[in-house]
């Protein structure tokens, strides 16, 4: 799992429970590893490009913290560039499924 992919997962996970966050990251990591090579390569390429862009924003002081990254991801998800939109949606689907399947009983009842 690449550094930016880890950042995206961290931004998308809603739970504060370290165990859940860690398990979600492990699931996403496993899913990415298990992808067909050509799809994994595509996702990794996007991660590098988008990660570089985000790093640049951070260096310029225009992006700070998970909440800012979450907002940026939301804008990409609703944006005009198809591959970027799909990137966010694919990562979000993995996170959302894992987090909600892993949520401990009290959270489920909430």
């Amino acid at each position: 799992m690449l550094s930016f992919e880890r950042q995206v997962v961290a931004a998308l996970v809603g739970s504060d429970d370290p165990a859940v966050r860690s398990s979600v990251e492990a699931f996403v990591d496993g899913s990415l590893r298990d992808k067909p090579e050509h799809l994994r390569l595509g996702v990794a390429g996007e991660s590098v490009v988008l990660g570089t862009y985000v790093a640049l924003l951070r260096a310029l002081g225009r992006l700070d913290g998970d909440e800012a990254l979450r907002a940026l991801l939301r804008s990409w998800e609703n944006g005009r560039i198809g591959v970027v939109r799909q990137y966010v949606r694919a990562m979000q689907a993995l996170v959302v499924f894992a987090e909600n399947e892993l949520a401990p009983a009290p959270d489920r009842a909430a």
Binding site: D34, P36, E37, R85, A90, Q92, V96, E101
Partner: protein, 473 residues
Amino acid sequence: MGTLDTEVLVVGSGAGGGMTAARLAEAGRQVTVIEEGPWVDADAHEPFSLEEMVTKYRHHGASLALGNPNIAYAEGRCVGGSTEVNSGLYHRLPDSLAADWAARYAIDEFTPAGLGRYADRVERDLGVSTLPGAPPPSSAMLERGATKLGWRNVEFARVFRYDASGRGTKQTMSRTMLPRAVGAGATIVPDCRVQRLVRDGDRVVGVRARRRHAGGAVERLAIRADHVFVCAGAVETPALLQRSGIRHNAGNGLKMHPTVKIAARFPHPIDHGDVPMHRITEFAPSLTIGGSASRRGHVAMALADTGLPLEDALAGWENISVYYAAIRSEGSGRVLAVPGLASPVVTYKLTDGDLSRLARGIVHLGELLLAAGATELHPSILGGPVVRGMDGLGAWWDTLTRSRASVMTVHLTSTVRMGEDRRRTGADSFGRVWGHRNLRVNDAALLPDAPGVNPQAAIMAIAARNCDEFLAS
């Protein structure tokens, strides 16, 4: 390199492979089944859970057919194949389709009556039955909505056996045909992936495979066989043929049931442990409406499809269930084995007509759910408005576009079509691959088209038929 000799080698252990193994072993043939995935206790994980995704699905259940839009698909990769992870819904191949396929692809001895006899045997072998007692709320909602609208609907039978208390057990291949095969002397080798077939002129003399052992060690295997049945599913079967240099009509013509979904909120709690058994057949076979797995993870994923804040939508998730509309598609796709890549590239091209049918499907599904009492509908459309009344449904016609629709499928077929028309088929009427005397395909790849319903029944009946022809010949 390890070696292994067998009379009949079956590659894959799903609906086609399981049936093939049992029929041939019980007929006295020496059978070895190779399965790429692991042998997982059928009771080890809750159905449709995250654990099941990790252990029993290929690519963690997140495979993708590239296109515009991309189409997510899921298939099993374990002993028993997709029969271990599907909903177990059972539907015979409609007679009209059998007759149509026989005529269009010149399939010999492919009559509705003949297939019906095989279906009878499959149903006896597996145990096919409807739910004893009343349907659960998720299924009853479909029935209620259809009744109010005057639409035809039916409770589908499933490959389930029920005990006296009403507890059902899905009759997967690992619980039925594979134990029968083993009982008749067959050997099953899990965690073993076939790299390629070894050919000698018009014969296949064996395969090269790699087996993963506990601890991670990988053993290379050379398996010699008198007859090879490839039953690895509609994606992996043509990919294996291509890797082995067999390309005639192998991998093109992929068909599927493109599917869109709605997460529907009701004023009361809905069950989440099972898949609804009712289906709306009013528009079948071109459009089928039914219910999906609706664990909390599935509900959350479906809600996330609209792109709206998830936390608000997920509140009261116990009242939400996920439903689908699936179409028979006029589009088609390809499976392409690329040298150096373990997984084939899968593509699918939805036509404009398909998109229109999907839009019609999601609107009809919305009508049904509102008629059933749903108070809020979240479509699998990015930016698709949440609908709370019939007057809002029309907006989905315009928002279900290639860039905004979230489309998935679980049924893939037709990549090595059967029939005597060599220009359009990859195998003869009984699955024998053109140009090869002892190589057969016996799985979903043979179906000339997606049947509009769960294809497991058709796959098993056709596989049994082909085994009988093999034994007779």
